[in-house]
Amino acid sequence: MIHGNEKGIDRYNVVVHGFNVNDGNQDGIYEPNTLLHVTHMKYFNEGGMTLPSGSVASFVNLKDLSTRKGASSQQNDLGPLKPNEEGLVPGDGFTFQIKDAPISIDKPYVSDVSLTSMVSLIGRNFLDSNVTSTIRTMYPVRITNYRPPELLGPNEKGLMYVAVKNISKAPYGSKHGANNQCSLKVMFPSKFIIALPQHTSDAEIGEDYKLGKYTFQTVKSGKQCVVEIKGTLNKTILFDFYFVWTVNFD
């Protein structure tokens, strides 16, 4: 085949060798309703002739992903690429928005999103440039054990356990900034079951509470009366039938 000054047994063909996918906050977890960045998209000309300029790189077959508002969904004009040479798609890469997820019930949220790379020239797709990547989406923190008492007698005390795990590479909690805040809201039918204002023995308190890994506060939505107690849990206040108090250790 002859094209201009070039001769070869085959024309040009683009193969995508790979691309990097990163989550928005670099904690290693792809969360719903956050950004997903694709960078370092490498393409390779495995044909016999130079790929002319004017090729377009983009991502298609987006599952539960959308193009970020205002951002370009494709990179125009990749430039010429000689046979057996690898190129890097210019620019800042691609940014997608992961679809938001409804609240999960009685299990952690886990889903998949996927995207497929594509390089085309004058509207014609190079089939070997289609590389699909499937990414698991979930949240960086999850409840791994939820165990309120199964039964209680009238006016009987019990212990409730909730285990929350951080599965990401970043620390979470208010100590690590507003973007990493997480909390747990526990709701009781206060007429029949209440949380006790204080632990009655050291064994009940639990190691993580002693280590200051969490604090707690009770409120009744709409009508709040917050009493600050420093250091110990020894005060309660009744206000308009709602039992409300706050504990601050920080």
């Binding site: 019990g158 526990v186 079951i193």
Partner: protein, 425 residues
Amino acid sequence: MTDIFFFIFFFFVDVQPGQTVVICLPVRSTPLSQKRLYASFPITATLILRKKPISKYSKDVRIVPVFDASKCYDVLLVTCKEIGIKEFQGWDYLFQLAGLAYAPWDIHRYKRLTAAPELSWVGRAAFIVLPAFKNTITAKEFINQDLVTHFQKYDNTSIIIVGGEAKDLSHCLYSYADPIASTDANISCLKGSKYRLDHCLELLLPKESSSPTNFLNEATGSKAVTNRVTPGSVEENNQALNNKTRKRTVDACMLYNESLQASDPGRRSHQAVVDFNKPRWTFVNSICGSNVLPHVEFHRSCIPADADLLTVKNVYKQEGHITGGGLPFTVYAQGDDLLFMPRPEPIYLSNPWGSTFFGILSGLPAWIITKLMVGNDFVHSLKFHVSVTKKSRFGTSSCLHTSIPQHDIDFVDVLYGILHDKISR
């Protein structure tokens, strides 16, 4: 019923990568929960990340009463998670009508039905009522020793299984500790001879019609037409012979059981334990002669023959549920109290609640029934409905059945019927 929910927020201060934080929170049921026994209340936890709820977990907490072993009760009601607040209200109303003080024993709270020395229902309740549920609790859970103590130490006691199988109670009758000595298990010569004649003659006296070959053919259902025996047919024949011999062993055991019961001063029931894998005594040999397996031992019932072990059948096949077919009352709330309002229509004795009520009254001793008859409580003003019943006048011939039309009776009639039955027995 309006309910107030309150929230407790846990703020995580520091959860390092890969780390799990365990929250431990003491909770307490309020004294008001006494008025909602067997109700389930949800405790819900919502995990919030950057002010966005991401997952929600919810589990119910059942309000189950504590058994007070320091007190005595008329009735012990064995409960499980199948019994919710509505079901429990049915039981509460039933015991109130019958004038019986009761205490529940929840199988999930105490994990089992066997009594621990320091916390035991044995000796604290006269009548045990067990609503049976195949997948949760049946009469099989009773420990033989508990029942023996219950019936032997305390008179006028009963055990009533609602919606369960009578056979589930059979294990309670025997401790299997001391088999009856071989000398005690004699049967009369007359019965033994008759049995031999009916069952074993062809084995003892081989003849053309009772030859071993014909016997095998009879067992396998094939005709005696060939003398050729293939290896396969030998195996089949051996199996058939074995099966027939086992059946005869069982038949012989039944003969012994009847004989033992007849000669027992208390007319207690007896049970033969046949274990073909473990040779025991030679009872069967004694009447059947050779060729019969000696693998049987006999046990005498540990509990008195007149002990009331009652089973109430659920016509709706809903096991121990008594709400099927409706309850004879409605519930209305007055403040925090739930009050019973009896329905004006008669109580159907055929539906699960009615038959259970009847069953529990039947389990009461005659003197209590008599005492109830002369009372003048609220229950005496109630009417009970009896459905159409068929009564066989002579034998079981269907042409001699008479139908008694449905009719209403009052409480005294119900008690009179039970008393009449007790006396006639």
